[in-house]
């Protein structure tokens, strides 16, 4: 049986569409693999640097630290307060890491802002740094994630963030002065640029560094078991 003209035309259209989809998926895969390879190269160069220099862009710009500064393993998290996957990590996985690794002095966690969702995400980040002036960075950090709502729905607008901040017992006058003056906007931009330079291209991304300079990147809100395997291996080695 011979196909009709319309059938041939339909087949040609579908072949083109499927082809375009295939090329798109292929291009995405190549781009992803490519970015991972670049990331590895960057990290290899990084490993040659002395410890303090290596950690400089990550830790020495005043980013908040959770745990003992002497902990052998440094875990740097890049996150956005509007990212649902970051919330999943903050509420489900981070408590287990604190309980099993941070409280025992094995790991220290550094949080870096990687604001991808625009101005409201930047507001959230500034608010946490303003709260850190009153030694409440992690309270504010956790409180924002616990109250996360739809992306860019106004829950992190300037007014909303001030209402949210009042919920953790901050001196609001001091907080408002800091927040309205956008005191930490520069640091947030720096954090974003540091992240991009380190190969971060999504949130949450974790760069885990052991005492010997070995680096493992964990991209995404992976389950506790993944972190456990990485951290236990680093602690054994």
């Amino acid at each position: 049986m011979v196909l009709g003209k319309s059938s041939k035309k339909s087949f040609a259209i579908i072949a083109i569409i499927v082809g375009v989809m295939g090329v798109g998926i292929g291009a995405y895969s190549i781009a992803t693999v490519g970015s991972r390879l670049n990331q590895t190269a960057t990290q290899s160069e990084w490993m040659l640097l002395p410890s303090t220099e290596r950690l400089h862009p990550l830790a020495l710009n005043g980013s908040p630290l959770l745990g003992s500064p002497d902990a052998p393993i440094t875990m740097v998290e890049y996150g956005d307060y509007q990212c649902s996957n970051c919330q999943r990590f903050a509420t489900q996985v981070k408590p287990l890491i604190i309980e099993n690794y941070i409280n025992s002095g094995k790991v220290k966690l550094i949080f870096k802002d990687f604001t991808i969702y625009g101005n409201d995400s930047v507001n959230g980040a500034i608010a946490t740094h303003c709260a850190s002036e009153q030694n409440k960075f992690w309270e504010m950090h956790d409180f924002i994630y616990q109250n996360q709502k739809a992306v860019n729905s106004g829950w992190l607008s300037e007014d909303s963030i001030k209402k949210l901040a009042s919920g953790i017992g901050l001196d609001m006058q001091q907080f408002n002065t800091c927040f309205d003056g956008k005191r930490y906007a520069q640091r947030i931009t720096e954090n974003f640029n540091d992240g991009k330079a380190a190969g971060v291209n999504g949130t949450p991304t974790f760069i885990i560094i052991d005492g010997k300079g070995q680096i493992v990147t964990v991209a995404g809100a992976q389950p506790f078991n993944t972190f456990k395997q990485v951290l236990d291996k680093m602690l054994e080695g």
Partner: protein, 165 residues
């Protein structure tokens, strides 16, 4: 009855079962990677968090339907020599379902935001906020595609049977 006979007609041939499974598995991997339930690095992990059961279940339904509908279309084209009807339905259904995975947090979403700036943020926010309704919409489109292809198969077969008498 018609429902069973259309499905039986296609999947009596094992190669179409294989095709349906291959398509479903391919889309399952794609959707779960985009939704961040499946990770390949640093170790291979498949993990559906407690709050994501609805989204995951919808993904399973969509991937299963995609396998069935595409295989039925291929069967119609190959065996019945009929043009690919309902193609736009499953294509748009699969496109919407895939697009819902473009959350700004993921590398693909970040690429969209980096490329398109404010428009990218807007699009990514919309896709993230309406992920479940959009997946339901794509499921509805795929159901429509399924019923369309089933109807076409049966009417083609009935016409041919009548012509052969």
């Amino acid at each position: 009855m018609r429902n069973i006979s259309a499905m039986q007609m296609v999947f009596a041939n094992r190669s179409y079962v294989g095709l349906a499974v291959a398509i479903s598995v391919g889309f399952f991997i794609l959707f779960n990677t985009l939704d961040e339930y499946l990770f390949f690095s640093p170790i291979l992990v498949f993990y559906v968090p407690p709050g994501a059961v609805t989204n995951f279940s919808l993904s399973i339904a969509i991937t299963t339907l995609l396998g069935i509908v595409i295989s039925m279309n291929v069967y119609m084209f190959e065996k019945l020599q009929v043009g690919l009807k309902g193609t736009s339905s499953w294509l748009s259904g699969s496109f919407i379902a895939t697009a819902t995975g473009v959350c700004g947090c993921t590398s693909l979403g970040f690429a969209v935001i980096s490329t398109f700036g404010s428009a990218g943020i807007l699009a990514s926010s919309f896709l993230t906020n309406y992920q479940i309704p959009l997946k339901i919409a794509s499921l509805a489109i795929l159901f429509a595609a399924y019923y369309s292809v089933r109807k076409n198969m049966i009417s083609t077969c009935i016409n041919r049977k009548d012509n052969n008498r």
